[in-house]
Symmetry: C2
Subunit: 300 residues, 2 copies
């Protein structure tokens, strides 16, 4: 049986796995993200245990270079994780597996592809995946292809208007933009606003969730107006707060105010803005989907 | 010689033209947009004068249905122009020209395609075209294809933060969203803010242009972070105020604050955010490009 290897390369941990074309995970392992010299040999060791793999997918923290015509294609670019800056992921993997195709994309584009291949966006051509956790990241598929363009989407950093319920004195925590979406609505932003180690135990009717839903809804409205997704899929730790979903649905409808006339927005918005079907595995399965996509273009 | 027919269907006027594969316009005509019963026969009459046309492109005011699998494909959808609501453009044209393929898209997606085929975005795969005039419309090309998705982009209506220079009492004029981009930065919004029939004679150093540039820059920053275009092209009457460009360049850089590390943004932004190369013909040439695209997929 042909197997597909996926590597979900996050800022704090790597998750490597091997799966089949149906998205079933056969084996997986995880280890901390330290330096390429330490971390990458562990990746190679895991992959070498699986001689049946026919392709590799690497879903990476960013920024990365996705322009196949550029000399930097396949590299991690300018990043605060200095040990990884300009590390050539694709070339490194190809040295060990010269016969295998390597798919390379952002972790969030990979997650979007995973949801499109096996999850909540199966069969759709236009999808936004947004993860809300330590940061806010967004993977986007348009016309069946992952959006790259000049670099790749960084839609967690779009501008949002201050919520009418915002508490005095909180001005956002993004080091680059202060009060962008990530600065106002990531997990650390939530905790910083309320000056607690974690908001996760706040009751469902706490105003914290109204504010959070407002910022996320603002972002979704802009995504809808710009890329017109057929579905929006949420991942990430903050979205385990399931009370956020109905609040976001209502707020998106209020902000669009009937402007986009479509039953999925006006009537069935709970089927339009949904949690990730692949749950915590969206990242790893997405990387495996990246590998599958090297062999079977039809998967996207 | 094979000729391509384009129809730029605007809210106030129709412009019909016939051109060659290089984008040269051979013949053109325009007439007011009244009702389908009056306007469409004029279109047919013009087209019938050109027996050499091999394809038709129709760039339409919106909203329109672009989903080829939907029963409403090819129609103008719910619109305040009631005579046009649910008018089936594609079917109408096919009745008269059953042997010709008909390309159908938004006027702004067509303009983006025109700029990609013959203009400022020649050879690029990821492009945003934004026109700032009576309204604000946006055409988007991602991975060489016009973005459709659930409906089509309506990125003139994204949310923007109130400019720090905004004048007291002005709250925006969009009937649906009041203070969205179009509500704050369209031509009529400018005139309403300053309570004049037209701002076009305001001096270059008038604060009006700082405010305008701020809103447009905010929108561009969100477009960049979401769809990562390789070039952003401005059309529309308001953008004839060429002093806006350097202000927008500077403001986009300030708002991104180094987050997207790319020479086109950090060093050569005047080559990244540019006026339409096809000028006032972007809409008509775009519709002709839509026709060409039916025959030569390579044009996108």
């Amino acid at each position: 049986m042909s197997l597909y290897a996926g590597i979900e390369a996050g800022g704090t941990k790597f998750i490597c796995g091997v799966g089949d074309s149906e998205g079933n995970i056969i084996d997986q392992i995880q280890f901390p993200t330290t330096t390429p010299d330490e971390t990458m040999p562990q990746v190679i060791q895991f992959l070498q245990q699986h001689p049946d793999i026919v392709a590799i997918g690497f879903g990476s923290f960013g920024p990365i270079c996705l322009d196949k015509s550029a000399k930097d294609y396949g590299k991690i670019m300018k990043t605060p994780k200095l040990a990884w800056q300009y590390f050539d992921v694709v070339h490194y993997l190809q040295q060990y597996f010269p016969d295998l195709p390597v798919g390379f994309d952002t972790d969030v584009n990979a997650a979007a592809l995973g949801e499109k291949t096996w999850g909540a966006a199966k069969g759709l051509s236009d999808v936004v995946y947004i993860t809300v956790g330590t940061g806010i990241g967004t993977g986007i598929i348009s016309n069946n292809k992952m959006v790259h363009g000049l670099t790749h989407p960084e839609a967690g950093h779009i501008r949002v208007m201050r919520s009418e319920h915002e508490i005095d004195g909180f001005t956002g925590i993004c080091p680059s933009h202060k009060n962008c979406l990530e600065g106002m609505a990531s997990g650390p932003a939530l905790n910083s606003r309320w000056q607690v180690p974690s908001c996760s135990s706040f009751p469902e009717n706490h105003i914290a969730w109204e504010i959070e839903a407002d910022y996320l809804a603002q972002a979704l409205v802009n995504y809808i107006l710009i890329v017109s997704p057929q579905k929006i899929i949420f991942g990430g730790g903050v979205m385990k707060q399931s009370q956020l979903f109905p609040k976001i649905h209502k707020r998106v409808q209020a902000l669009l105010n009937g402007y986009i006339s479509h039953p999925l927005i006006e009537e069935n918005i709970n089927q339009y803005i949904v949690p990730a079907a692949l749950g915590g595995n969206a990242g790893l399965k997405g990387s495996i989907a990246l590998a599958l996509h090297q062999k079977v273009q039809a998967c996207v």
